[in-house]
Subunit: 393 residues, 2 copies
């Protein structure tokens, strides 16, 4: 782990791209059509003249387009600030990094909290189900709009890794490489089960009101419980022991069943913090998209994997029990048996699933080397010049 | 795994023992006194003349006194029916087996749903907090009442194992041996966190109403979510893959966010089944008792462990990620360093924490051998005679 240094990227602004303007429609996997569709995105670094240095970063379940730098007036940087910047893993001195919020989200992209153009009210549950493939198809519109024929890499952790894999399957000629981190080729029943417990907690909150709570009271308690469940699965037994142990928080004599242990206070904080930034219906839509994700949706999967022209680097963390390393190994095994250039690296970490957000050093080394190799073999050995001295020398 | 055969034990009835009749009080660890206190219990087999063959079985979080045999008119046997009976692990041809429901529970024992004698209304949250030690102290009254000076063994899985360890610490001269299964010497932050998420789900249900729901609508949805979370932690990634895979349940076109995968339907079933048999407030009290459990509550722990006169057999299952094997190893390490006769066995199983309820064969072999040894070394080599031919020969 390494602290982020001041403002390597500096101030950034989220941008918005809208497509499928009426009467056009963006057709979803379930054949529903919606439009217009907006994606929020940010970019860092500059696209070179040859347009060969674009890296698309894809976020996890509740992430957003703000991956690096600072929003004006805000103290917290983007969610992968230590990985994106001059001299970092995704070196903005060499690469043009794009991060796109997902379709169905609530951080500037079209989702259930957006206005339904037919009613001029928030979609709520009338919003159609979206899949990981739909998210990727929408991102393809954004990438085209940015004038990029072929991405040097798509990169993502957790649900971002599912999108990266889907990019390789859906657009094999448009991505030279994919870095899949702490992810899976299909959601397992345990992963589905955790999501379902969260959804049930959320929908049990009477304020959820069948998804129609906009302008009314929010289902805060339900969403908060869903987030608590999530946070337990993002950490590990070891990291919780190290971070909290059985320490208790002193103070006024608490309610008999109020939070007493530090770990309980942490979960409460995480739960209520989430309520302030996330739309409950988006939580339902996006977790469902993850649950439905499976390469086996394509029959036979091997035929689709055979189409992959993308070099895959698949990364797992030893202490990640939510997306355990064996799932990464399965991706590589399946892809190799379909003739795909894929390799797996399992990194040692006690941070659980969160490792991809906190273990920077080894990820940085691996990704820098991988990107250089991919660039040289795809576009020739002329790597994009380092405009700024590398942080790692 | 082995199916239970017909009715080895036959029809049984739950019995009730009440003590601390007013003006007496049963004094709890937090110095609150309550009375009268009732414990529900069942017995199987017969106490020998020497009273040297009594085995006390202690149940997990949501278990009850009905460990074996059948209640009249009911098809499902007790929760450890395959372990207790003639020729089984706890051979009722040799041993007198007692199973006691816990204080704070809701299956016949005094708990928050019992009448507060002062108000003649259910206690609700006025019921004092109880600890694992309080549960054990109450059981000690029951064992005295049954005329037993010294138990041959105390045995329990999960929270039952915590009680068994507490028995050894609190009543070292009253228990010849303890079998601790899939348990811990203190609840870890991850274990606390899962319990807390469940409690928060329950208390978020407006029908919970500060614990005052008796005679009104039950907080069914909240309790159901708590139970779903629990069931995920009782299984394993592997056992869920084997049991459910990604199979879906066909039927009428479901609600967009209704259960679709079999694993979701299973969780819903488990959740709603639980609502019919468990008091929500008891869920709060008992999970808190487990969370507060720690041998480190005794300072210095080693001093208390040194007092143990009990032979300990500590069993863990390789696939149990809720109470991982390292926690059993820690118990044995701590106890041995305090001079206690303790050994650990880790059994191979993919069943997760549920293994102690489904993996019978190896448990049976181990426990039979252990009990015979303990009996011989404690009361002399005259093992209680086998009245019925052993099931395992």
């Amino acid at each position: 782990m390494q602290k982020h240094s001041a403002d390597r990227i500096g101030i950034v602004e989220t941008q918005y791209f809208t497509f499928a303007h009426p009467p056009d429609k963006f057709v979803l996997e379930d054949m529903n059509g919606i439009g217009p569709v907006t994606l929020a995105y940010e970019t860092y670094g500059e696209l070179n003249e040859e347009r060969t240095n674009a890296v698309l970063v894809l976020h996890a379940l509740t992430g957003d387009a703000h991956a690096a730098g600072f929003h004006k007036g805000q103290k917290a940087p983007g969610w992968w600030h230590d990985m994106i910047g001059p001299g970092l893993a995704f070196d903005t001195g060499r690469y043009f990094v794009i991060c796109s919020n997902v379709l169905g989200g609530c951080a500037g992209s079209t989702g259930p909290s957006s206005l339904n153009p037919e009613t001029q009210k928030p979609w709520g549950l009338d919003f159609p189900l979206v899949t990981i493939r739909d998210m990727v198809n929408a991102q393809r519109h954004l990438i085209k709009h940015l004038g990029i024929e072929k991405l040097l890499a798509v990169v993502g952790g957790s649900m971002g890794g599912m999108q990266a894999l889907q990019w390789a399957v859906s657009y094999p000629h448009r991505v030279a490489s994919a870095i899949l981190i702490a992810t899976t080729w299909e959601h397992t029943p345990q992963q589905i089960a955790f999501n379902e417990a969260g959804r049930q907690a959320l929908m049990a909150d009477p304020n959820w009101n069948g998804g129609d709570y906009y302008g009314k009271r929010m289902p805060e308690k339900g969403l908060s419980v869903a987030r608590m469940i999530g946070h337990i699965t993002y950490m590990s037994d070891t990291s919780m022991n190290e971070k909290f142990g059985r320490r208790t928080k002193d103070g006024a004599k608490p309610f008999k069943f109020g939070p007493k242990f530090e770990v309980e206070n942490y979960l409460h904080y995480r739960g209520y913090d989430f309520v302030n930034r996330f739309d409950p219906n988006s939580y339902l839509y996006i977790t469902k998209a993850a649950d439905y994700f499976s390469m086996a949706n394509y029959t036979p999967a091997v035929k689709f994997l055979q189409g992959i022209r993308t070099k895959l680097l698949v990364i797992a963390f030893s202490g990640d029990w939510l997306y355990p390393p064996y799932q990464s190994q399965q991706i590589v095994k399946m892809c190799r048996s379909a003739g795909v250039d894929a390799k797996c690296r399992i990194l040692r970490s006690d941070y659980g699933h969160d490792a991809f957000l906190v273990e920077f050093e080894e990820q940085t080394r691996l990704y820098r080397r991988f990107l250089k190799k991919v660039h040289d073999s795809t576009f020739g050995p002329k790597e994009p010049p380092a405009l700024i001295k590398s942080f790692y020398g």
